[in-house]
């Protein structure tokens, strides 16, 4: 029994990160009809950037005559502090590049109402390739890892080994998702965003600036992927090809749970984490990823709105 609790708990912890990834992916799909095959790379890239800013004390490469405050290095004396500061610095960068720039240069140009989804899929695959290969060439040699911001403590409540990282990840994810839900439900901007997602034409008639609401969605996604990056790097390494598997769990979780509801993608993420751990332990460690994949295929074929999504006539 205690084993079951243990693997369930760690499944929830990994599932929490999957949920973050899935929610961001689902938000873009639901509100903008944008299926972003580079979603995993959108997580890997901030992870690497935070690693560099936080721990590797990079130089800006500025010419000598430019005065730089505090020497030419950025970074703090303690890894955790470095990472936190790096995280805070990376957020606006992510919002600008992965949010606004991505939307304006690619999504807006390739997604026409009533048109084909596939050009954006292809372009995002190209984008994913660019990011992935760039990370491989620049940083590929040895996968880097930074330590968990939650520290390395481990406890054994009731005889079950639990790490501070697991707890921290769970708590942060739940808080972030709660904050997102509160924002969407309780603030007027959030409600406008939901309205824009449900029915853009009706929203426009009501005077809601749909284009700007979609932009906010991209910004929120950028924040979500950065948080996911912060949480995932300690366990998954900041690898150049981490993006592919992260994309995969995002798709799988979002589709299984239901991509047209934030709640659906959230549950999907936790479900995939649990399924992986359960099947890994009770069935076969080698095929732990197979069960969620098979479930995704079944969902696509027979219940495309997901297990917890709503069946609706969407143009997507």
């Amino acid at each position: 029994m205690s084993t079951f609790i243990q693997i369930s708990f760690s499944g929830l912890a990994t599932g929490a990160i999957f949920a973050l990834a899935a929610v961001g992916f689902a938000l873009l799909w639901q509100t903008a009809g944008a299926i972003n095959f580079a979603h995993g790379e959108f997580i890997a890239l901030p992870a690497v950037i935070m690693l560099i800013l936080g721990e590797m004390q990079p130089t800006l490469g500025l010419p000598d005559w430019v005065p730089v405050v505090g020497g030419t290095a950025i970074g703090g004396p303690l890894p955790e502090m470095g990472i936190i500061v790096a995280f805070v610095l990376t957020i606006p960068l992510a919002v600008l590049v992965l949010g606004w720039l991505f939307k304006v240069s690619l999504v807006d140009r390739l997604l026409t109402p009533g048109g084909d989804d596939i050009p954006l899929v292809i372009a995002s695959l190209g984008l994913a390739l660019m990011i992935r290969e760039y990370l491989r060439v620049e940083f590929g040699a040895a996968p880097k890892q930074f330590e968990s911001v939650f520290g390395n403590d481990r406890w054994r409540p009731g005889g079950i080994p639990v790490s501070a990282d697991d707890v921290g990840v769970l708590v942060v994810c739940v808080l972030v998702i709660l904050a997102l839900q509160l924002f969407l439900r309780r603030t007027s901007t959030g409600r406008q965003m939901e309205a824009a997602a449900q029915s853009p034409t009706t929203a426009r008639v009501l005077g809601i600036p749909v284009g700007r609401m979609v932009l906010y969605t991209f910004a929120i996604n950028a924040v979500l992927v950065t948080v996911a990056a912060l949480l995932v790097a300690p366990t998954t390494h900041a690898r150049w090809d981490a993006g592919i598997s992260l994309s995969l769990v995002a798709f799988t979780a979002a589709i299984i749970g239901g991509f047209n509801q934030v709640r659906g993608a959230l549950i999907g993420g936790f479900l995939v984490g649990l399924l992986q751990n359960w099947s890994g332990y009770y069935l076969s460690s080698a095929y732990r990823e197979a069960i969620p994949l098979l479930l995704m295929i079944l969902v696509i074929l027979w219940r495309p709105q997901g297990l917890f999504g709503i069946a609706e006539e969407r143009r997507i």
Partner: protein, 408 residues
């Protein structure tokens, strides 16, 4: 119009005769110039590894060939001569360029040939029939492993079953590899009957992953992540020893030419129209008698079968296979190559495959970042030329023609 005229007669006056095709007359000087240009493109690089000085001549000849193809009407005699001369030139180039090259270059060229077979197949499934597939990497792998397992008399142990596999002649092993993939393709063919577009992309992606997991984990069958050595020893086909890389390259080239001819035949036949109808409007197609289900399964099985054959050839080309070579990254490569080359064109797959094989270390300005540039190129193509290189060429040709006719 008088009240006594019948409807039929009134309509008859407005009949609109279908025009006869005007092929014009053949210009011998033009034809000769075209052949000369093609010959220059084909023969100039033979045996050379550096051709700095005459690069300009070669480029000019290439531009001349492309220009003639662009400007001459497709149905005119001139256009037909130029087109067939160009195609013959492509085949000749593939046959003649390898002369005097090192073995490692020959393997690179062989990789181009083998991957071209995969993309020719994918072009049929996606380009002509409109069914997206991110699973060609999986079929490449299945073809590779099946052919190797059946060709070496290995001992295997899987799911409690132990035994020795038969040792088939190489050609038979290739055929079985292809057929196995054709049969297994129903696993994605049937889902393709229910879903389209991105959903089908996800299903084929999941299929690729599941295949990868099996290849990686069934160590008793496939050797798992350690991979398999697949040297070209004792491989004699019709008296030719395929141990020589040069011989093996031409062996693969024969398969590429056959695969291309097969797809060309299919597209030209009534099947080609049925596939295009399936791509453009499956609902309307069904209402006109097109058996959507059968044609969908056919589109997948042919594409997968070709990838399976390519896999069998691939295994012996690089003489070592492991599951990582058949992961979804490989499927992405095939997919992007086919799209960038030009979906629904015969030439597209060849152009696209050159981006993921032979060009990778030839463009000096990119250095190690070649694939970053390729990714950027993909993005650029989607924004500026979504029909791909060959598709955009055709578009340009139509546009130039329309302008010429408007000017008259």
């Amino acid at each position: 119009m008088s009240a006594t005229t019948s409807t039929g007669e009134r309509l008859a006056h407005r009949r609109d005769a279908v025009a006869e095709i005007d092929r014009g007359s053949l210009s011998w000087p033009l034809a000769a110039a075209a052949v000369a240009a093609v010959a220059t493109v084909v023969l100039l690089p033979v045996g050379r590894s550096e051709f700095a000085g005459i690069m300009w001549l070669w480029a000019a000849a290439l531009v001349a060939v492309l220009g003639l193809n662009l400007l001459l009407p497709v149905e005119s005699w001139n256009g037909i001569v130029v087109k067939w001369a160009s195609l013959a030139g492509c085949v000749a180039f593939l046959a003649v360029f390898p002369v005097g090259r090192t073995n490692s270059t020959l393997v690179d060229l062989g990789l181009f040939v083998v991957f071209a077979i995969v993309c020719v197949g994918l072009n049929l499934t996606h380009g002509f029939a409109g069914k997206i597939s991110l699973a060609q990497g999986a079929f490449l792998g299945i073809g590779a492993y099946v052919s190797v397992l059946l060709d070496t008399g290995r001992e295997v142990a899987v799911a409690g079953f132990e035994g020795t596999l038969p040792d088939l002649p190489f050609l038979l092993a290739i055929a079985v590899a292809g057929l196995t993939c054709m049969v297994l393709s129903v696993l994605i063919g049937f889902p393709a009957l229910r879903v389209q577009g991105p959903w089908l992309a996800f299903v084929t992606l999941a299929f690729n992953l599941l295949v990868y997991l099996v290849l990686n984990n069934e160590v008793g069958l496939t050797g798992g992540s350690r991979g398999l050595r697949t040297l070209r020893v004792d491989l004699v086909v019709f008296g030719v020893d395929l141990f020589e890389t040069r011989n093996y390259y031409y062996f693969c080239l024969v398969f590429l030419l056959a695969a291309t001819a097969l797809v060309w035949w299919i597209v030209r036949s009534p099947w080609g129209r049925a596939f295009k109808a399936l791509r453009d409007n499956p609902g309307r197609a069904a209402s006109l008698g097109v058996d959507v289900r059968t044609y969908t399964l056919l589109a997948f099985s042919i594409g997968a079968g070709l990838a399976g054959v390519a896999g069998a050839l691939y295994a012996r080309l690089i003489e070592y296979i492991d599951p990582r070579g058949f992961y979804i990254g490989q499927s992405f490569d095939f997919f992007l190559a086919t799209v960038v080359g030009g979906l629904g064109t015969m030439v597209g797959p060849f152009i696209g495959v050159s981006f993921i094989t032979v060009l990778t270390d030839r463009l000096r300005f990119t250095g190690d970042y070649y694939r970053v540039w390729f990714g950027l190129f993909v993005v650029f193509m989607m924004l500026a030329a979504p029909r791909g290189v060959a598709g955009s060429f055709n578009q340009l040709r139509s546009w130039l023609r329309a302008r010429r006719e408007a000017a008259r």
